[in-house]
């Protein structure tokens, strides 16, 4: 290469594209969604996985805006930090945000609120989600689920077809070969799309670190009033989580590894107050991510059953 050419190269930052297989795969999938479907939507929970999806969508379509809206199924039991974060992000991106509330489904009598020690609105979300899909006639719903999260998820396709009732039939899944994604569906059906299927929890955290992606503060270590139950740490700072009188509240340094509904997300003891420390902690962790999700602990097949019914 001529010296002048080298100088130009350096000046214009013209080098080889720096991406990895997982990032390029996710961008490819998001572009397939935009091309193959008429009304896609990105299911946004405010958690790290859906925040990562948003960054990938920005990359996939730049300099154009993300060509689909975000939708949040709000249980009403979200951490306030997550909601504040969501609203700020949407404003910055200039994309449309759709919010549908589980509370409305309860008020309309479509679902009945659970009661008791382990009550949660996690199961109730499915009804609100399926109603919203029907209301907006969404044909593709992009989600941040990963195959490494849970064993029923490990069998999930990247384009996962749901019938008119939003249900998943694990025995009738379409084979997915090479990079080819078949998004052909009948009217009334929809496809759940999982662009970060092949990412692990550590891949997501490493990506957040490398890309300097902002995430809600509850992912970092903070002081919180908590109580212990079944070996898990629960937040005692709000009325959402049921607490018996004999369950003692104490203040500890904790952070959350997943950000679901407050009633089904347990904290972990941690002093990791920066993304660097969080990544180091995940790398050494001996407990799986969903080990702190009470919604999976209901039974060995808890996730499989919820998926069949139309869960995320």
């Amino acid at each position: 290469m001529e010296i002048a050419e080298i100088e130009t190269t350096i000046k214009n930052n013209l080098v080889k594209v720096d991406t990895n297989a997982l990032e390029s795969e996710a961008i490819y999938i998001l572009r397939e969604v935009a091309a193959q479907f008429e009304r896609p939507v990105l299911l946004f929970s405010g958690g790290k996985d859906s925040i990562t999806l948003v960054r990938l969508a920005q990359k996939a379509f730049w300099p154009a805006k993300i060509p689909f809206p975000l939708m949040h199924i709000d249980t009403g039991h979200n951490f306030p930090e997550t909601i504040a974060f969501r609203d700020k992000l949407v404003k910055e991106l200039g994309v449309e945000l759709i919010v549908r509330n589980v509370q409305d489904s309860i008020d309309e009598g479509k679902v009945i609120e659970e009661t008791g020690k382990y009550s949660s609105r996690n199961m109730l979300q499915t009804t609100t989600l399926l109603d919203a899909i029907e209301e907006f006639k969404f044909d593709a719903c992009i989600g941040g689920a990963r195959r490494d999260e849970e064993k029923a998820r490990a069998k999930e396709r990247i384009f996962s077809v749901r019938d008119d009732f939003g249900q998943w039939d694990e025995k009738k899944q379409r084979p997915e070969l090479f990079d080819m994604l078949n998004g052909e569906i009948e009217i009334g059906q929809n496809v759940r799309v999982f662009p970060i299927s092949n990412w692990t929890e550590l891949d997501v955290w490493s990506y957040i670190e490398k890309e300097e992606i902002e995430i809600p503060s509850i992912y970092f270590a903070h002081k919180r009033n908590i109580f212990l139950r079944d070996g898990l740490i629960w937040s005692a700072e709000d009325d959402v989580v049921f607490r018996a009188e004999d369950e003692v509240v104490e203040e500890r340094w904790v952070r959350f590894r997943t950000v679901g509904d407050m009633s089904c997300t347990a904290a972990v003891l941690s002093h990791a107050d920066s993304i660097k420390k969080v990544v180091a902690e995940i790398r050494d962790s001996k407990i799986s991510e969903r080990g702190a999700r009470i919604d999976d602990k209901r039974s060995e097949a808890a996730m499989e059953k919820r998926k069949q019914q139309g869960y995320f």
Partner: protein, 415 residues
């Protein structure tokens, strides 16, 4: 970080799930809660060892029957690589699932039970991995603990397998033999103390040593356009970017390209990844390309380098792997999805069915059933731009979609 996808193949009870469980356990990839669950269930079942297959079998029916139904994906990583294992079942629907698993993998493990040696199933597993041109194949001779870690036994099985290798079509496929005991942990991650006679690498050492250039098949650059980006904003008023993934080679700014099917020539102006410009789009990177001239490009079109044209045609013959319960018959119409391009196709001729175990072919057949493999000629309503599968794994493959049911009914590899 490097990502290596590995397909596993084995018959029922060859210990495939145990091998994967062992890989996870010895690389310390099983977290305490998962390990506890395995210990608990193993105990309940009355086993006196840990049943690692419980780490992989996900669906209720699988746990009930102790079998793997569907392709499962398992993840673990070491300091140098991220691993994705596509675990495919070894029973009735094996061909369909194995073809699927092998299609996205760069390496494969074929398991042989040392007590049984090379059986009919082994032929099938090897045939499919060879047909799919998986670059690196490990023949793991398992359950060595049950044959007293015998070198003679290992050598005899190896010799039998080498006879199979002589029949393979893809002769450059790299094949490595490793004697293992998945249950006891010999030569999976750690070197065996029971088989000093084996001087080679353990399974994990072998995969750790695979370099990027060893992993991918080499071809010529192909850029199928997935999506046209037109921001229509003041800042990017005239921006027309062609979004897609680069296959087979690299593309550079200034490269002279041909747009297919219009055959219009132009030059690559800029290569974007997100908001930055680059000189080179690397293989398998998802980029956005702009051209020097205003040319008409839409989804399904392809950019290739001048002088590097693929075949442009409305007819081709391919090896088809049938995956649907509805039969494929002559005269039937399907949608051919070739990359991101879709065209209508008609089955012109089914030449012969191929036994996927090197035992020959059947001529004069009237249709394909699920798990059949055959040579089929298709006629298309529009031309596609393809390479032979042996020259280009991506641009030489396609899927068949049944227009009645929308399901992916089969896959094909163009001659």
């Amino acid at each position: 970080m490097n990502v290596l996808k590995i397909a596993t193949a084995g018959s029922v009870d060859d210990g495939k799930s145990t091998l994967i469980g062992r890989l996870l356990y010895d690389t310390k990839s099983l977290t305490d809660d998962k390990l506890e669950a395995i210990e608990k269930t193993s105990k309940q079942k009355g086993y006196d060892y840990l049943d690692f297959s419980l780490a992989t079998d996900g669906l209720v029916a699988e746990r009930e029957q102790g079998i793997t139904i569907d392709v499962a994906h398992i993840y673990f990583s070491t300091a140098t690589k991220s691993y994705i294992i596509a675990d495919t079942p070894g029973h009735v629907e094996y061909t369909r699932n194995m073809v699927t698993g092998a299609s996205t993998s760069q390496a494969a493990i074929i398991l042989i039970d040392a007590r049984k040696g090379v059986i009919e199933q082994t032929n099938r597993h090897f045939f499919i991995n060879n047909m799919l041109r998986v670059k690196d194949v490990i023949v793991a001779i398992n359950k060595m603990d049950l044959v007293d870690f015998s070198e003679e036994k290992y050598n005899a099985i190896k010799a039998d397998f080498e006879k199979l290798m002589a029949k393979r079509e893809y002769q450059d496929q790299k094949i490595t033999f490793i004697p293992v005991s998945a249950l006891k942990g010999d030569n999976v991650v750690n070197k065996s103390e029971n088989m000093e006679w084996y001087k080679g690498q353990t399974l994990l050492e072998h995969f750790e040593d695979l370099d990027r250039k060893d992993i991918f098949n080499v071809g010529t650059p192909r850029f199928p356009v997935q999506y046209v980006i037109r921001p229509k904003t003041d800042e990017f008023h005239d921006f027309r970017g062609f979004a897609g993934k680069v296959y087979g080679g690299e593309l550079n700014v200034g490269d002279e390209v041909v747009v297919l099917p219009s055959m219009t020539k132009s030059k690559i102006k800029d290569i974007y990844f997100y908001d930055k410009k680059y000189k080179t789009a690397t293989r398998r990177s998802s980029v956005t390309i702009t051209l020097e001239d205003e040319v008409n490009v839409s989804r399904g079109d392809m950019l290739v380098k001048v002088g590097d044209l693929p075949t442009i045609g409305k007819e081709f013959t391919a090896t088809v792997s049938w995956m649907d319960s509805d039969k494929l018959t002559t005269g039937k119409k399907y949608v051919v999805q070739h990359g991101v391009n879709k065209v209508l196709a008609k089955v012109d001729n089914i030449h012969h069915k191929i036994n996927p175990d090197y035992s020959g072919v059947h001529a004069a057949i009237n249709g394909l059933e699920m798990n059949d493999i055959a040579q089929v000629t298709f006629k298309l309503n529009k031309p596609i731009f393809y390479d032979s599968f042996k020259d280009h794994r991506t641009n030489g493959s396609f899927i068949l979609i049944d227009p009645q049911t929308n399901t992916t009914a089969g896959a094909g590899f163009i001659n």
